[in-house]
């Protein structure tokens, strides 16, 4: 049998949102081992598990959609894999769905280019009208410059081309302002939701202490196909996810 891939969509909620990307990937590897999945390894002396991960989730952000391709040595039914994985995951992380992919499928790490986020602003972070106006200004600009501070270098980047959708509205619960953003994330580069938030908050005139505890949630990861956003869980026609 040809080698297969198990594509898994994980949710990361609660305390698990403080787990960093490298800690998360380590946790998934150990969980997959505990679950007894028929995993493929590479390397002669120190076996390395083969897997491909979706773009990093910033610390503190919850997610409905963390994607991982596990490379398998043999067949396992997606339903069984889901059950076994769910039993082996720490609190706050669970499996949303699984599907099998052929060995020729592009791994998620080389596939994803877009992410959708919902941001719930704290109650003292200004009113809806102000945020709507800030969004309008943002979208009307040709260039949105921001200083991106990274451990090794700081440089000025233009956020605008990486922001595809931006909306401000009253949240579903009826209280507080909510933002919805669709941003570049993955193969085309990454705009972080906190970066967009910072620019908007500056324009509204809200100090950092009032918005920094905003709850950010990653709703989905996508591949852009001819202007359409497609989930890697639905890409191709064969083998539906369970």
């Amino acid at each position: 049998m040809k080698p297969l891939r198990l594509r898994v969509q994980f949710a990361k909620r609660g305390k698990a949102r403080y787990v960093s990307h490298s800690e998360f990937s380590r946790t998934l590897m150990l969980s997959a081992r505990r679950a007894g999945l028929p995993l493929q390894y590479s390397g002669k002396y120190r076996p390395r598990m083969k897997l491909s991960l979706s773009p990093p989730l910033p610390i503190g952000v919850t997610s409905e959609c963390e994607l991982v391709d596990f490379f398998l040595e043999q067949y396992v039914s997606p339903a069984e894999a889901k059950q076994a994985l769910d039993r082996s995951l720490p609190d706050g992380i669970h499996v949303v769905r699984c599907r099998l992919m052929g060995s020729d499928a592009r791994p998620v790490g080389k596939l994803i280019d877009t992410a959708a986020y919902r941001v719930q602003l704290p109650s003292g972070a200004g009113n809806e009208g102000d945020w709507r106006r800030a969004v309008e200004v943002f979208l009307s600009m040709e260039v949105v410059s921001l200083e991106r501070v990274q451990p090794r270098r700081t440089r000025v980047v233009d956020l605008r081309p990486g922001v595809h959708t931006l909306e401000a509205r009253i949240g579903a619960s009826g209280s507080g302002v909510e933002l919805f953003m669709v941003l570049d994330d993955g193969t085309r580069g990454t705009v972080k939701p906190s970066e967009v938030l910072r620019v908007l908050a500056d324009s509204v005139g809200v100090p950092e202490e009032s918005w920094r505890d905003a709850l950010v949630h990653r709703e989905g990861l996508f591949v852009k196909r001819g202007g359409r956003l497609v989930s890697p869980m639905e890409l191709g026609k064969h083998r539906p996810a369970v």
Partner: protein
């Protein structure tokens, strides 16, 4: 625990997490973290270093499981908050909290703190302070019993005022007795003093305030007097490893820990008798775990952790009498589960290297050996009489097995050491290179790590003086000179750190003030070279009116009363002194597993002597 004492601090902790590095250190909720119901006797165990270091400490992992397996008791964890988290916690008034339930440590019944080594002492004080508990035991009217245990309790005297109780030796049984007593005290409504008095009578447990120290005018100890009916001497506890099959389901951290693997002890104790080694003296007698028990633990933990490496640990793993049988069986499990097997603490001989190479572990990585000294004479002094031929065989075997790096550990500042001995370290490394070349192989990279010898209590060298900084720097200069070559990397531990370690190692209660002042001036994480600040320690000594030279640079008289005199770690003072004299004459002592008893005293009173699961041959 009464309802009003339990407050969940999570809501106050959570906002701090995005402001600190690596928030997972303070989360809890890792895989295998115990569920805590919060009824019965509540224990919280602390390790005085950052999470990644603390979670790798086998002792605390064992004790947490032991307590959580008891009826009516629960055990949680806490580690030293890193600098950033301490700042956030102090500025927002959040006290030290447990990882499992995020409750304030001050609301627990028992606050156990591991005492691993001297350079954690300021962190220990900091843990007590951050918990909001009075620093000095005699100021505590309520709150948890603050109990110390672990390797560092061989001489915890400099910490004496900060602790209500200490546990001497292995804790598996003692912690059970303590928890049961505390539960009984709660149901009977005992006063704190009554509880402490009763606890101090548990075997291996003592109250430091039960021992009063009288000093002579010259600063030496006149006598140590037990008061309040306390016993003359406190004897350490040891356990039968086949009765205590722990840990079984250790917590799997989110982050990569210092020891990121399954750790199974194959035996405790060591009778090789290296004269500088405290662990080798105070962990006696040797008690091996049976092969079946080891294999069972490996199997259980492999399944419930998912780890990719298993270490069979001890003070000298190839000394396990059934090492071949156990590595064969464990290798079988490793093959099935895609794990690698490692044997830390390898002796330097062809046999050990043969076994380790056979495991194909780590492949082309490095092999670590510890010749400790550069000449055979000095190795006889420290009773680690490895011949130059053994060292060469070991290195050759390692290179033949494909290793491209060889780590060599040496010490400088050993008793009787001359410049000649130090130069010999350099010559030895060059000869090793030549011998590998002579066999037609490319020499490996030699990483030569040189530490400063620190005389420790309960060892044959407890009488000798610490080498002073000037002399150590001179010897480091020699090494820098002779080991300047491509393919050789020389590194050393900061000798000023060793000086502070040495000061505290053989210190007495008068040093508590120095520790407190060093802590108050900002000392934290002293074992991290980037955070160690020698000048703060100098100032602390000065302010406390302590002359470090008294503790560091003084040869002790044969009959001097040591601060740890009343602590019985198993080995007799007479034996240690005989070994001390043997050292000075360059005479070696055999390993008692060969049949000749050296009358060290460790097997007396324990109810059992050496316990070997197979037959010793060496």
């Amino acid at each position: 625990m009464s309802e009003k004492l339990t407050g969940d601090l999570w809501e106050r902790v959570e906002p701090l997490l995005l402001r600190v590095e690596r928030p997972s250190r303070y989360l809890g909720c890792e895989w295998n973290a115990p569920g805590i119901v919060g009824e019965g006797t509540a224990v919280v165990l602390a390790y005085p270093d950052v999470y990644e270091v603390g979670i790798s400490n086998l002792g605390l992992v064992i004790l947490q499981e032991v307590v959580n397996d008891m009826e009516g008791a629960s055990c949680e964890r806490v580690y030293s908050p890193w600098f950033d988290m301490e700042r956030e916690m102090r500025s927002s008034g959040v006290p030290l909290f447990s990882l499992e339930t995020h409750r304030a440590v001050s609301t627990y019944d028992i606050f156990g703190i591991s005492v691993p080594h001297e350079l954690t002492y300021t962190n220990i004080v900091n843990l007590i302070d951050m918990a909001g508990i009075p620093l000095h035991a005699n100021n505590r009217k309520a709150g948890p019993l603050v109990i110390g245990g672990g390797c560092g309790t061989a001489n915890p005297e400099p910490l004496a005022p900060f602790f209500d109780l200490f546990v001497l030796g292995e804790g598996e049984e003692a912690i059970g007795s303590l928890v049961e007593l505390v539960s009984e005290g709660k149901s009977h409504g005992w006063e704190r003093q009554e509880l402490l008095q009763k606890a101090s009578r548990i075997s291996g447990v003592y109250r430091p305030s039960d021992y009063e120290v009288d000093y002579q005018d010259n600063g030496l100890i006149e006598s140590i007097r037990p008061v309040d009916g306390a016993p003359e001497r406190v004897r350490k506890r040891t356990v039968d490893l086949d009765k205590w099959l722990y840990p079984k389901h250790p917590v799997v951290p989110f982050c990569e820990a210092v020891h990121d693997r399954i750790n199974v002890e194959i035996f405790r104790g060591c009778t090789r008798g290296c004269r500088f080694c405290q662990a080798g003296m105070v962990c006696r007698p040797v008690r091996e775990r049976s092969v079946d028990a080891v294999v069972g633990l490996v199997d259980t933990m492999a399944g419930c952790t998912g780890h990719e490496e298993v270490a069979l640990s001890s003070l000298s793993s190839t000394d396990y009498t059934m090492i071949k049988a156990v590595t064969k069986k464990v290798s079988g499990i490793c093959g099935q589960r895609r794990m690698i097997l490692s044997l830390p603490s390898l002796r330097m001989d062809g046999f050990s290297v043969g076994i380790a190479s056979g495991l194909e572990l780590g492949g082309r990585g490095s092999f670590t050996f510890a010749p400790e000294a550069g000449t055979e004479r000095l190795r006889r002094v420290i009773n680690k009489p490895i011949s130059e031929k053994d060292i060469m065989d070991a290195v050759l075997s390692a290179v033949r097995a494909g290793r491209r790096r060889v780590k060599l550990y040496f010490m400088i500042g050993l008793p009787t050491e001359t410049d000649e001995d130090v130069e010999a370290i350099g010559r030895l490394v060059f000869r090793l290179r030549e011998i590998v070349r002579g066999e037609g192989m490319a020499p490996p990279m030699f990483n030569v790590s040189v530490s400063t010898f620190v005389p420790k209590p309960h060892t044959p060298f407890q009488w000798v003086k610490q080498e002073n900084l000037e002399s150590i720097e001179h010897k480091q200069g020699i090494l820098r000179e002779v080991l300047r070559a491509r393919g050789i990397k020389l590194s050393w531990h900061d000798s000023r750190m060793s000086t502070v370690e040495s000061l505290l190692a053989r210190g007495d209660r008068r040093l508590a003030d120095v520790i407190e002042k060093a802590w108050a001036s900002g000392c934290r994480f002293d074992s991290w070279s980037e955070h160690f600040d020698y000048s703060r320690w100098e100032v602390a000594c000065e302010k406390a009116g302590i002359d470090p030279a008294f503790y560091l640079y003084r040869e002790r008289e044969p009959d001097e009363v040591f601060p740890w005199e009343y602590l019985d770690l198993g080995v007799d003072r007479d034996f240690l002194y005989r070994e001390n004299q043997g050292a000075l004459k360059g005479e070696t002592s055999p390993d008692c597993r060969g049949g000749q008893c050296l009358e060290c005293g460790a097997c007396e009173e324990q109810g059992a002597g050496l316990f070997l699961t197979g037959t010793w041959s060496s």
